[in-house]
Amino acid sequence: MFLARVEGSVVATKKDASMRGRKLLVLRPQLVDEKDPTRFRPGVNTIVAVDSVGAGTGEMVLFCQGSSARLAPNLKEAPVDAVVIGIVDTVDVLGKEIYNAK
Amino acid sequence: MMLARVEGNLTATRKHPSLGGWRLVICQPVGVRGDPEGAPLVAIDGHGAALHQRVIVSTDGAAARAVVKDPMSPVRMMIVGIVDEVEAPVPPAVPAL
């Protein structure tokens, strides 16, 4: 799994029938900056993921990729490879809290 | 599968039960000339591969689960053979970075 910021959402009118009714979020992965572990650095790739927890733009989330994404509720038959599985409360790195949702 | 060179091993007391009794071998993926490609991986070994021997590593989870005899095992990487020789007469075309 990776941490990510929700940058927005995607609207797609023409899509696979099994994707109807799913909210699709645009994610920017957040990696711990190896040069300064009190900060994140953004990942290079933009990820589109199915929302399974009701996350909104600006929130920090945890997302899962690959065929495991289809193990999220009601996604068994959906052609998806990324799903948001949680909304992040805190992130601690090397003894410091580097993210808090509050 | 991957071509790899054995470069060590590790021990772990607390681990998934299906790994109990298995050698956990550090395998460095290599090209045909033995040049390292990427980060070392850890695979289970049932063939007694020796340090610096070249081996073939499979990442097929289903095959690994069958070998450890546990359908709920998370294991995926497994040494499936020890290399006698690699024939590669034409210099490999390694993509530019």
């Binding site: 799994m1 990776f2 941490l3 992965p29 990696l31 711990v32 190896e34 572990p37 990942g43 399974s52 927890v53 945890l62 899962c64 990729q65 690959g66 065929s67 495991s68 994404a69 193990l71 999220a72 509720p73 799903v83 599985i85 949680g86 909304i87 409360d89 805190t90 992130v91 601690d92 790195v93 090397l94 949702a101 | 470069e7 060590g8 590790l10 021990t11 772990a12 607390r14 681990k15 998934h16 790994l19 956990l24 550090i26 460095q28 390292p36 980060a39 070392p40 991986l41 850890v42 695979a43 340090l51 610096h52 989870g61 359908p71 709920m72 095992s73 998370p74 294991v75 995926r76 990487m77």
Partner: protein, 100 residues
């Protein structure tokens, strides 16, 4: 499995039912240049992207772990569990002798 150092922890305020209450470790994977030899301390952060792994072995910051990625991470669970990385081994000792 890949090997890495546990550098942190994540808590969630909301999660899909299968993973409510789970432990999540932030892990920095070892690279060939950053791989501790025998008796060496764990390395700290490497250039490899740090990822989050599901943990049910009780790993903590500073531990070296072996983690499995991909669909196999979800295999140990009776209920469908949408995870793609799991802590599979808390490493006691590494013997590493690269050729070069």
């Amino acid at each position: 499995m890949r090997v890495g150092t546990v550098i942190g922890r994540v808590t969630l305020s909301r999660a899909v039912p299968a993973v409510v209450g789970a432990r999540w470790l932030v892990v920095s994977p070892f690279t060939r240049d950053h791989f501790p030899g025998p008796g060496q301390a764990p390395v700290g952060l490497t250039r490899e992207p740090s990822l989050v792994v599901y943990d049910n072995l009780g790993g903590g910051v500073g531990d070296t772990i072996g983690f499995v990625e991909g669909r196999e991470a979800a295999v140990p669970f009776a209920e469908p569990t949408p995870i793609d990385a799991i802590n599979a081994a808390l490493v006691d000792e590494i013997f590493y002798a690269p050729l070069t």
